[in-house]
Point group: C2
Chain length 115, copies 2
DNA sequence: ATGATATATAACCGATAAGTTTGATAGCTT
DNA sequence: AAGCTATCAAACTTATCGGTTATATATCAT
């Protein structure tokens, strides 16, 4: 997977409230599929599918404990998506403040012209 | 739209390379649909659909200039998504460093026991 | 070996996504 | 008014999503 595909997978994974809730739960520590499924009014296979999408995006990883497959959150994919967004937000804000500066300049100029 | 639905729409909008490229272009300033469509090997209606999804997510807005509908990027939705991610990353990092601290403690303790 | 527990896989369904082509609409130009 | 330009909307196709039920697999417990 290249960067673009990873971003695709990550944003798709984040674009569902169930998956975001699962991530929120995993922030507090590892959990098994059963534990993750418990709060939701949804079948176990549905949760397993959600976990698969989170795993594909690299947002979680799974280990093994007897029959259980405990999930834990992984920081790297989260960081990649955050960085991408942060970068855009920064450039956007920079452009905005440039616009603000421009407006300030215009105001100052008009003031000067009045005197 | 509540916060969850807005996040859904925003992440879905970000989960496509064409739409991310459109945003990248719009960071540099307003552009018409034709201008935005130009770099892509894709029909104009396809671009219009992408723009609709970006607009639904509040990531862009459109004004009017004769027949043209110039698009510009909007910061708010970008900020909401960034904040959501940033928050998660921070908690995750905090937990991680807690784990690091714990490991350090254990190491120190073992060392004490050796002496 | 038998049964219970935890999870994954397969097959299916309805809704939505992402593209197409075709045609409509709105505003400019002459 | 006639035609050009920019954009949208509708109808269609194929693929993917998000859920289901039923079934298979792996590990534990007895």
């Amino acid at each position: 997977m290249n960067e673009s595909e990873r971003l695709d997978a990550t944003f798709i994974a984040l674009a569902d409230p169930t998956r975001r809730a699962i991530l929120a739960r995993l922030i507090e520590g590892e959990a098994t599929v059963m534990e993750l499924a418990e709060p939701f009014d949804m079948s176990q296979p549905a949760i397993s599918k959600h976990l698969k999408m989170l795993e594909r995006a690299g947002l979680i990883s799974r280990s093994r404990d007897a029959q259980r497959r405990p999930c834990k959150i992984e920081g790297a994919a989260l960081k990649e998506a955050t960085d991408w967004l942060e970068n855009y937000r920064k450039v956007w804000e920079a452009n905005f403040s440039r616009l603000d500066d421009l407006l300030d300049d215009l105001k100052a100029q008009r003031k000067r012209e009045q005197n």
